[in-house]
Symmetry: C2
Subunit: 547 residues, 2 copies
């Protein structure tokens, strides 16, 4: 087939917050009550976001002009951007520290130049030039990282280039018999889904960042979507991959599975742009579902809910979406949908149980799951499933508004085996609470938690933390996050289930895989990227890369 | 829990063929007809297997006596074997070339010493000593490799030690909530299944080598079992792993899935003892099924069968066992169960469709699958499922008897995406046929093929080839296998779906992952095994390891 690309305009991510500014909305009553109540914030306490780009200070560009021209020559005029707006748009992800940095007074480190190649060969040429000139490269997809995955680090380099993959955005091939689609890494979630929906297929990957994040980013960070119970993780859908590395091209994946040595696809997935640049992906796709339904069910306790969710994950039938909120998160969710007074007094724990597929398949699974849930003592909650579905991509907008109002709001996540789940949740909550209570003055937090992804052997836990901002909210969160990460490590859980390592998780990640694991990855890095130009400081600590 | 070990005696693998000599049986009528008919062999043409160990010549041991004593000191008297029988038992796998070598006149390269450590620490100490003394180590599980995975290569080393993991054979821990069992790598399939069955669980991994192969071997070679449609591949069941490498210990796996960087478990799985020695495995287990049933169904053509098997793999319901034979294999299978004359005249293609689980779950899935198969035009074949089940581990015994009779019999396998399946089958069959017809005199082959493992995106193809032995059957097969491997590579398929790389597939494997893939693996190898002592020549070509 001829390459097919998305049509229509592409909404740029707001340069000062999440998503499309036109989608921002005032805080709902429930969150205003939270601010004034548990967090003790008088709305208006917050630091304002800058009104205009001119209010944001960027660190000066340092790339030599001749090198910039050389690089521009590779991608052509259409693919080069050196203006402040382009630099700022590629300077940060969308973690709370990133958003606080935009509100702060420190100059922001930004790439010197943004290059948007339109072919694998152009990417290879850029890598070759940057290796020769010792210019760092940050591969850039949607810029939605919440772990410092795209922040440039120019230390020791002659400049930093953001390599924006937006122009590698074609549906290159569709193999309907094998249900495989070959796609460009720069396609955003909705763009890829629309191209496939026109042909009757879906990828089925819907993380909260879906509207802005890209396929290449999903792969590079081992993303997992809200419908992972049904469609699997993104990494499980990657059947073949093409990678441009400074040392050459890797083409991996000749069959769904193979016994031909270690699975090298799994060495690229999760490498976060530090080993190479993904220039093409072949993904497992499925027929677009005729039906999607999301139900809400309430359990008396988190323990009851976990037991039942575990049984569904282990013995089936597996819903497409399966999530379970703890009591605190449930109270807030039900308040948002205007749950009645009595029911929110004892909110229990809300599960979202969704089904996608043919009408027949949905009806069959939904009815069997409903029987199992009812037998486990759960009760249906009218409207909760639809409310979740309508709000599923809204949380980052709400965070912007809460930050504006003076709250510190951030999320963190982990995963473990089932037998550690309750202990892990308690330990992380206690660590975060203690850290925020140790601020001077103390900033008592509200901590919400849900089981966001399930497997037969375990699950992920996703925490949302809110507190009043201290005088230095970036440091305040750094301390709370470090306490959480230490608790995760002490519990033997993984430092991240789907956000990735970025810069923020490097110390814990290096401890998680051990000295020898780090050494093995470092040897791979040196082989693929001998000059060490790819995303320095992300995945592995920069200072240890060249020892 | 306290470590629990298998009780009762352990049947040793025959030193001159497959399995338990007591299980050998005369060739069935159908295979005698094949010999006298299509293969044109007068039974009795074959070279006999040696009668006694004294008839087998081993290459002389070369390990320095002081080094041998040093190593013996690590594992204790119980763990050291230097006699000819022990050396021979660790010298070869069970490929047809291995079995032909036992019938040949060339001396057999055997390890100088067999060491059987009984702890991770002993393994580490052996690795340290062998690195210091430049002694090669071949990690040894069940010795069932059919790709040259355990043949020692002493070139450039001061000797070769077989590291037999048989004493690392405990069920170390059972986490019933997470459905995880931590097990020693030296446990054979049936030993592990019995330990787990006593506690109500199964691994569900049943490859043809099940009775003799070990868990460590399953992991190191990315084994896939006959029930993979239901239980998944072995590599998918490995949740955590401990690895002893000369450079240190790796402990990997803190959750079912993680976004913490590349999945390092996937770098060890498939590394075939060249990167480290697996000393403990944590596997996903399932409740032992109350019911197992295997049905036979006949399709009019292979194309019809593939279409239907693909639909089951893509849209479900997924049987636990799902295999589809081509016409030639079907004719032979049905002849073995005494299928009537008329039905074998037009044998069609036989599918084995098995279900394991609770009685309810089996009944529900079996009835839905039966409806789909009938709607696709398939007909039930009485007795075929039970016949397959009874004979599922017998093929290697039959191969021994066919080799005795003068036939060359071997299998090979590959995998690809669905859209390439028919072309791949035709290309491999044609290449093997042409190679064997080019022998002087020509040795016209019988080639059987089945789809042995299915995925949503593709499947594996498993070929059985039989011909009359030429004067030099090892070279005869080498040429036929090379022709098949070239055809697999040309079709863009993988050189192995579940047999592994060993020595035999190295040239094609290195082309499959490309120069850069090889370089990446070589860098990992150098980091984990700086002296290059682990299984030299397996997985990666020995001559390129130290460049």
């Amino acid at each position: 087939m001829t390459h097919v690309r998305p049509t229509g305009p592409r909404t740029e991510m707001s340069w000062r917050g999440w998503g499309d500014p036109a989608q921002a909305a005032p805080l709902p009553e429930s969150l205003l009550r939270l601010l004034g109540g548990a967090l003790g914030i008088a709305v208006g306490d917050g630091r304002p976001v800058p009104e205009s780009l001119s209010q944001v200070r960027l660190a000066p560009a340092q790339l030599d002009r001749r090198v910039a021209l050389e690089l521009a020559g590779i991608v052509g005029a259409e693919g080069v951007h050196a203006d402040s707006e382009a630099r700022l748009r590629h300077a940060l992800g969308r973690s709370t520290p990133d958003l606080l940095a935009l509100r702060g007074s420190e100059p922001i480190a930004a790439p010197d130049l943004v290059l948007a190649p339109d072919s694998h060969d152009q990417v290879m040429a850029v890598l070759e030039r940057c290796s020769a000139r010792r210019v760092a490269i940050v591969p850039f997809g949607g810029g939605t990282s919440v772990v410092g995955g795209v922040e440039p680090d120019a230390g020791g380099y002659n400049g930093v280039v953001a390599l924006d993959l937006a122009r590698l955005n074609a549906l290159e091939h569709l193999d309907e018999e094998s249900r495989l689609a070959t796609l460009g890494p720069g396609l955003r979630g909705p763009e890829a889904e629309r191209l496939l929906a026109d042909r009757g297929y879906t990828i089925g990957h819907f993380p909260q960042s879906f509207e802005y994040a890209t396929l290449g980013g999903f792969a590079a960070t081992r993303s997992s979507g809200q419908a992972s119970a049904g469609y699997g993780r993104f990494d499980e859908q990657v059947m073949a991959i093409r990678v441009a590395a400074p040392s050459g091209t890797l083409e991996l994946g000749r069959a769904p599975r193979s016994a031909a040595g270690p699975d090298l696809r799994q060495l690229i997935l999760g490498s976060e742009g530090a080993f190479g640049v993904i220039t093409s992906l072949t993904l497992a796709v499925r027929p677009a579902p005729a039906m999607r339904v999301y139900d809400g069910w309430r359990f008396a306790s988190f323990a009851d809910g976990v037991r039942t969710v575990r049984a569904l994950a282990q013995d089936g039938p597996r819903p497409t979406v399966l999530r379970l909120s703890d009591e605190a998160e449930t109270a807030l969710s039900l308040a948002q949908i205007g749950g009645g007074g009595e029911s929110t007094a004892l909110p229990g724990c809300l599960a979202i149980v969704g089904f996608e597929g043919s009408a027949d398949a949905v009806a069959r699974r939904r009815s069997r799951v409903a029987d199992l849930l009812a037998a486990a003592g759960a009760e249906p909650v009218a409207g909760a499933g639809d409310s979740w579905s309508e709000g599923r991509y809204r949380a980052p907008y709400l965070r912007d508004a809460l930050l504006d109002a003076g709250a510190l709001v951030e999320t963190l996540e982990t995963a473990c085996f089932w037998s550690s789940l309750h202990g892990l949740r308690d330990a992380v909550s206690a660590a975060v609470r203690e850290a925020l209570m140790s601020e001077n003055p103390p900033t008592p937090p509200v901590i919400l938690c849900h089981v966001s992804h399930v497997y037969a052997a375990g699950a992920s836990l996703y925490f949302t933390v809110a507190a009043a901002q201290s005088d230095d909210p970036i440091e305040q969160w750094r301390r709370a996050k470090a306490a959480a990460a230490d608790a995760i490590a002490a519990a033997g859980a993984t430092i991240t289930h789907h956000h990735g390592v970025g810069r923020d998780h490097v110390p814990w990640y290096e401890r998680e895989i051990g000295e020898l694991g780090v050494a093995a990855l470092r040897s791979v890095k040196r082989t693929l990227d001998p000059a060490g130009i790819l995303n320095p400081g992300v995945l592995l600590s920069a200072e240890t890369l060249n020892d």
